[in-house]
């Protein structure tokens, strides 16, 4: 793991987005180090998805800054952040239902360049275990397979940072085990930021955890530190 004195991969300062009176993200200072698996947890409505929307550029903040390495990306449009290596996989599976499995992943692959398109696409599919399903329409896949397809699209972007929004939701226990193995195989080449409700997955996978409540950071630390943190227990784990 990178030392804490290095420039973080992602750093936010005072990041803020309010919806009217709702303080969805309220002055968040956050550091994500290269090569870690960082879990973002918190009760429903804590602002987790809004926060990663700000990181990925799907929404723009009202105040605060976001840096990728040493570069300020606060106002950068989402598609340019993707090209800089920030990939986002959707909470609600958002594959292209009427396109084939191949075309879904090829869309991600070709955005990096046209070379060896078919081979790179098949490699991304093989990585998540979807080889052999290339010609199927995505909407005919089972839910678990659609989630894997979503993941393959994120991986095919060859990202520096992969943001996974509730990736294990709706997966069977065996599929969750495969998913954990897959995520572990990504680091340290890819840094993973994970929003997850399944505490077993979080405690098992994450090297560090950030707890959000009411749009603010309640605590950051290793799984052991978070488990021992009294205010976290009160706000979340014990509830």
């Amino acid at each position: 793991m990178a030392s804490l004195t290095e420039t973080p991969l992602i750093e936010t300062n005072g990041l803020t987005l309010h919806f009217g009176g709702l303080k969805a993200v309220d002055g968040v200072d956050f550091r994500l180090h290269a090569g870690e698996i960082h879990a973002l947890i918190g009760p429903n409505g804590a602002g987790k998805t809004t926060f990663v929307s700000l990181l990925s550029g799907r929404r723009l903040p009202q105040a605060g800054t976001i840096a990728l390495g040493k570069e300020d990306i606060t106002r950068l449009p989402a598609h340019e952040r993707v090209r800089k290596g920030i990939a986002y996989t959707f909470q609600i599976t958002s594959v292209f239902p009427r396109l084939t499995v191949f075309d879904n992943v090829a869309l991600a692959v070709q955005s990096l360049g046209p070379r060896d398109l078919a081979a790179r696409t098949r490699a991304a599919l093989a990585r998540v275990g979807l080889e052999g399903l290339e010609a199927q329409e995505a909407q005919t896949l089972s839910y678990g397979h659609q989630r894997l397809l979503e993941l393959a699209m994120g991986l095919a972007l060859n990202p520096r940072l992969l943001i996974l929004d509730e990736p294990t939701q709706g997966l069977a226990a065996s599929e969750i085990d495969d998913f954990k193995t897959l995520v572990r195989s990504l680091v340290p080449a890819t840094t993973v930021l994970l929003i997850e409700h399944n505490m077993d997955v979080v405690m098992d996978l994450a090297t560090r955890i950030t707890v959000l409540t009411f749009g603010r950071v309640l605590a950051t630390g290793t799984p052991a530190e978070i488990r021992a943190n009294a205010s976290v227990q009160e706000a979340y784990l014990g509830a």
Binding site: S56, R58, P77, H79, V82, S94, F96, Q110, P114
Partner: protein
Amino acid sequence: MTGAGLKIWTLHLALIAVLFSAQYWLSPYHATNLARIMVLAVFAMGYNLAFGYTGLLSLGHALLLAAGMYAAGLPAQLWGWSAGPAMIAGIAGGGLIAAVLGLLALRTAGVSFMIVTLMFAQAGYLTLLYFAPVTGGDDGFAVAATSRTLLGFDLSTDAPRFLAALTIFAVGLGVSLALVRSPFGRTMVAIRENEERSRMLGYNPFTVKLAALTISGLYAGAAGAAYAILFGYVGASFATIQYSILPMLYVLMGGAGTTLGPFLGALVMFVLIEAATGITTAHQFIVGAALVALILFAPKGILGTVRERWLRWLP
């Protein structure tokens, strides 16, 4: 090339071969009609790239057709340009106006996009009327015979006109097929299917849509210029709303998002109108009834339905 690719290109080449042979077995009257259909099909193919593949429902394509028509016809009229340069000017004119239209109209989407494109097309039509001393207004003007020759061939006569129309159609069809089978074609479909997801795969939806609309404009420009040169008439009536609706009807009839649908739609609609005109003065009613039946029973159009039910490999 893969087996599927070979099959697809063979099918398209076979259509062009059949169309080529048509000049020998059709009467001159019908051959001229077929030339007209092929030119209109080029217009519809361009519309299909924007609407069928990229999901841009424009109500302003008459503006692009007229842009091509006048960009070819005016230099011919004013400065005596010959068919070749006039044709190139027409294609460029369609593309240029489409790009400008896109820069402005693509800030909107959906119904707003329909309305904005419609407004620009109406503004274009009114502009043509306003400058009637130059444009000829609704009456238009005839293109001089000297501007209707290409490499020594008189394009106002049957055989050269037919071959010129077929050439433009064949190039348009080939480019359209190559485009939709390319990575960019896949990107256009992705924008149509889910713009937000495409953005999160690193695509800028605005530039993709602008490119698709501009390509669509090149097609419309080519069709407008070809119409002016091959049929010898340029007029503001081609900028009316009717010519924005027609390519949509052709594409819906033939199958939106299929490469051969625009031609098939133009052919079927043309034949339908011809047949209906022979039976009743209320031929518009018959066309309307056919469209209602189509929407009810085959909303994906003829080839869209064929692809769904039988030929999955159709592009």
